[in-house]
């Protein structure tokens, strides 16, 4: 057995160890450790991805070599390492790009705690994406909730504390429902490992036994995870949460944490319920409807926002809607589009938060009205903001375009959904274009030459510039050469 198969377990343990070690380091050392951790995890996941591609089969990793039903297991194919590699790169870039604001926003002496929390979030993401045991999934969901709440509340202004408690309340409602769903599944099947659950559920569904309990369990688990990831109508915590957190946290929470829950839900759909049972249960149609409404409502709320950070946060609500709409369309092309959009959003949203923070520094405020001409003072941030906004709108050469194209293509798999999907996509593109272009135009409005005196030079921006450039390059490369990535996702979906 190749060494690579140990990577997920090592990565989880390494993250936990690093977070414990970080608590006794200085802030600077903890930051370096965190960045190194992200790099190591990304490389490890790259190795695992290569292994998965070479063997072409999924790997079940028995912890302590105990076979089921006694042991705990991890499972990974191609999709898990691919997403985790992207997630750890994005997390590293968020920490790098948000450094200036982390230093400003956090109290002295609290910096190391931030990295404790970010390492924990990474470990929870890896565990959620690879675990083969649904109860382990529940435990890591809670670890993820607590540590992401830590990332949020560490900026000690009143509004973030208020936002944290709101975030916690919705998260806990979600995980309570999820737990009840898991207990119901355990009650009717007697299993917690995903393959055994799937087999037992298949038999129960075929025999028609416990139909109501099974349907309740499916709905509870789906709704629980949907609430946690912020699907309409449970997205009201988003603007405060993402908008007032320190920008690095905003990026991590919107780009990674909510996607971690969605990916876990996808694994549960494919590996526990089975696509047959799930798509026949009708829950997928509910996801489609709420996803589609979420897109429109999120975009309209974003349009009405004057505060740019809250606007970007509302746009996140719309993007979550896209992902759920994709899941609702079909188990093949729809989920493929959703997976691509998970990557798109993870690569596009964090740099939007980071560059908005840079721009609001030069513009003296978070409101759009104050941003007139700010693009001339901080060119790199304005350019990053514009390109990422283009990606969110769905302009060709960016990842956002490929996502939207994939959603439209997926809709043709189900004739009844073609028209509503296309209408929602068109409407959302118009709304996205409207609210993002307003900001971009404000950024590039002409200003007096005297104002330009305080322009921030590229070299002064240091690490932010590096992270912004990498984000933009990733976006454009994946947008132009999307086909290999789609093939990779398709292959991974086959192994899920």
């Amino acid at each position: 057995m190749a060494f690579s198969v140990n990577v997920p377990l090592f990565a989880i343990v390494l993250c936990l160890v690093c977070s414990v070690v970080s608590s006794v380091l200085s802030g600077r050392a903890a930051r370096r450790l965190s960045l190194a951790l992200c790099a190591v995890v990304a490389v490890g996941m790259g190795m695992l991805l290569a292994y998965g591609m070479r063997t072409g089969v999924g790997t079940t990793y028995l912890m302590g070599h105990y076979p089921h039903p006694w042991g705990n297991e991890l499972y990974f194919g191609v999709l898990e390492p691919l997403l985790l590699c992207a997630f750890s790169v994005v997390m590293g870039l968020c920490l790098l790009g948000g450094r200036k604001h982390l230093i400003e926003d956090l109290e002295d002496g609290k910096h190391r705690m931030y990295y404790v929390m970010s390492d924990l979030v990474l470990s929870a993401l890896i565990a959620l994406a690879t675990t083969n045991d649904i109860f382990t999934g529940y435990v890591f969901i809670e670890i993820c909730t607590i540590s992401s709440c830590g990332l949020l509340m560490i900026r000690q202004i009143g509004r973030t504390t208020l936002a944290s408690i709101r975030y916690m309340i919705f998260s806990l409602i979600g995980s309570g429902l999820f737990l009840l769903g898991v207990i119901l599944l355990y009650a009717i099947t007697g299993h917690l490992l995903m393959p055994n659950l799937k087999e037992a559920i298949g038999k129960l569904y075929a025999s028609g036994q416990y139909r109501i309990v099974l349907l309740s369990a499916i709905s509870l688990i789906t709704v629980g995870l949907a609430i946690k990831s912020g699907l309409f109508p449970f997205h009201f915590w988003m603007p405060d949460t993402y908008g007032y957190a320190t920008p690095a946290s905003g990026g991590i929470l919107s780009g990674l944490v909510s996607k971690g829950y969605i990916f876990f839900l996808l694994r549960v759909i494919f590996r526990v319920f089975g696509t047959d049972v799930f798509y026949r249960s009708g829950v997928s149609n509910i996801l489609y409807v709420f996803g589609a409404i979420g897109i429109v409502v999120g975009s309209i709320s974003a349009l009405r926002e004057k505060d740019v950070f809250r606007m970007i946060a509302y746009s996140s609500a719309a993007q979550i809607g896209y992902v759920y709409m994709g899941i609702g369309i079909s188990p093949r092309l729809g989920v493929l589009a959703a997976l691509f959009h998970i990557l798109t959003h993870a690569i596009t949203k964090p740099p939007l938060f980071l560059s908005a923070a840079q721009l609001s520094d030069t513009a003296n405020g978070r409101l759009r009205a104050n941003w007139r001409g700010a693009g001339h003072r901080n060119r790199i941030a304005a350019l990053t903001f514009s390109i990422c906004a283009f990606s969110m709108i769905g302009i060709p050469l960016t990842m956002g375009f490929v996502s939207k194209y994939r959603f439209a293509a997926a809709a043709f798999e189900r004739t009844a959904l073609i028209v509503p999907t296309l209408i929602v996509l068109a409407l959302s593109t118009i709304l996205n274009g409207w609210y993002f272009m307003r900001v971009i135009i404000a950024l590039y409005l002409p200003v007096n030459r005297d104002d330009g005196a305080q322009r921030s030079a590229l070299r002064k921006q240091g690490v932010y510039a590096i992270s912004a450039i990498v984000f933009v390059l990733m976006n454009i490369v994946c947008g132009v050469a999307a086909e290999p990535l789609v093939l990779l996702l398709e292959r991974g979906l086959g192994l899920l």
Binding site: F135, Y138, V139, E142, T145, I146, C149, G150, M153, G158, R159, T161, L162, S164, I165, M168, I169, L172, I173, G176, L177, L179, L180, I183, Y186, A187, L192, D307
Partner: protein
């Protein structure tokens, strides 16, 4: 009718657990007082653990610790749900601790436990 009542009596613990879960859920979602929200959270979690524990219990069987060298598994109850409940309790204790810490901080800043009042003072303070 009699049959229905008997079936209800057989699953009385599950019914109680679901009612408790609903009470906790509604309190967590709708109550405006933060402390009561936290109590609601705990009721909700406890209800889930009650359901789990009751599933693992089989009447007239022993607790799952080998007694008098008897290794026949049919004489003992299923130990797994108890293990799950213990894990769940740890999770809910830590979540409660985080919620209480947040509540303390909000109270120190806004001198209230009522979420509506806290929102009102936050809006006054930040002017949005």
């Amino acid at each position: 009718m009699r049959e229905l009542l008997l079936r209800l009596w057989d699953s009385r613990i599950a019914v109680a657990a679901v009612i408790l879960f609903a009470v906790g859920f509604v309190t967590l979602l709708l109550h405006r007082n933060l402390l009561k929200k936290i109590i609601g959270l705990n009721i909700m979690d406890t209800a889930a653990y009650l359901l789990l524990t009751s599933l693992g219990y089989i009447e007239n069987r022993l607790s799952p610790i080998i007694q008098n060298g008897d290794t026949d598994p049919t004489r003992y109850v299923n130990p797994l749900p108890a293990g799950l409940v213990l894990t769940g309790i740890v999770v809910s204790v830590s979540v409660t601790a985080v919620m209480l810490a947040l509540t303390v901080r909000l109270y120190q800043r806004y001198h209230s436990l009522n979420l509506d009042e806290i929102y009102a003072s936050a809006q006054k303070e930040h002017g949005v």
